[in-house]
């Protein structure tokens, strides 16, 4: 009997390892997608046609707040992984809730920025620069939205079933994805916004 249990545990461990590698390979291919969009953006950033350039439309203090929100969200998510490891379900749920709220605030600000630009008449049909801008920043935003949905699912699972092996694994996967999105944003912030106004 105990032999069977040990065999099952080994099987489960192998499954977890495979799923970790799977997420990792997905993240690497996603990086490829972002790299293509970054290269496209850098090539097209001077092609503003009759539209505005980056320095005319970027509201830098606004984008800085956005950046700090996402950075803090990533940090709080890391803390949630620590309380999870320490076995504190309540603290983990609270920290993950803060992670999600900060992420949602980030996404809300980004959508506000997009709506504002479109309202001013600077939409993606105006110039190659704006097409590349909306595609790159929008793709990152879409990833954040997926992350928020994922977070909601793992949050509910954690609340209902508590700290199980499976939930630990799912949360570790989510946290990897979330840190990854924060790292991509560092480059969006630098290449698009900072270099746009520098």
């Amino acid at each position: 009997m105990s032999k069977a249990v040990a065999a099952l545990e080994l099987q489960e461990q192998a499954r977890v390892e495979r799923s970790k590698l799977g997420l990792w390979i997905y993240l690497m291919t996603d990086l490829m997608l972002f790299a293509s969009l970054f290269a496209t953006y850098i090539v097209l950033r001077q092609n503003i046609a009759d539209g505005p350039g980056g320095h005319e439309i970027f509201d830098m203090p606004f984008v800085l707040v956005e950046t700090l929100l996402l950075l803090t969200s990533s940090y709080v998510c890391g803390l949630a992984m620590l309380t999870l490891r320490a076995g504190n379900k309540r603290a983990t749920l609270t920290l993950l809730l803060i992670t999600g709220l900060l992420g949602a605030a980030f996404l809300g600000m980004e959508l506000y920025e997009f709506a504002h630009l479109v309202h001013e008449g600077y939409d993606w049909t105006r110039s190659a620069f704006l097409s590349a801008f909306f595609t790159l920043v929008g793709t990152h935003g879409a990833h954040i939205l997926v992350g928020l949905i994922w977070l909601t699912v793992v949050w509910i699972r954690l609340m209902r079933r508590g700290i199980t092996h499976q939930n630990k694994h799912h949360l570790a996967q989510f946290s990897l994805f979330w840190h990854f999105l924060d790292i991509v944003w560092i480059f969006v912030f630098t290449v698009v916004y900072l270099m746009g106004v520098a």
């Binding site: 390892e17 590698l21 390979i25 790299a35 290269a39 520098a198």
Partner: protein, 118 residues
């Protein structure tokens, strides 16, 4: 167990503060135009890469986990692909831009060719 958790919290917080400093520094340099021309691009890129390394080490614990060899293989394969894709695109497009005739010259050149009967 307690001290290990505390050590981890200190670790994360150090990474967070370093990220804040790097973000703030890059923001101040860019908005106040503290450097000129290409220098500012290189400085901003260096700060972004520094923050990438800080987050990889402090948040993702890159390098001191038991990453499998397939993870490493995938990482380096993608790193090389991205280098070729990104740097290659910029290189080619820059040279195309450089070697392209300016639009006004192109127009007169085409007129000339037409007048010659091509």
């Amino acid at each position: 167990m307690e001290t290990r958790t505390t050590a981890h919290i200190v670790n994360y917080t150090a990474g967070f503060i370093a990220s804040l400093v790097l973000t703030g520094g890059a923001y101040i340099i860019a908005t106040n135009h503290l450097f000129e021309g290409w220098a500012i691009m290189w400085v901003l890129m260096a700060l972004a890469v520094a923050q990438l390394i800080v987050q990889l080490v402090f948040f993702l614990h890159f390098g001191h986990g038991t990453d499998g060899k397939w993870n490493k293989a995938a990482f380096w394969f993608i790193a090389i692909s991205i280098f070729i894709l990104a740097i290659g695109s910029l290189w080619i497009m820059h040279h195309m831009d450089y070697n392209m005739m300016p639009p006004e010259l192109m127009d007169s050149h085409m007129m000339e060719q037409r007048d010659r009967g091509f």
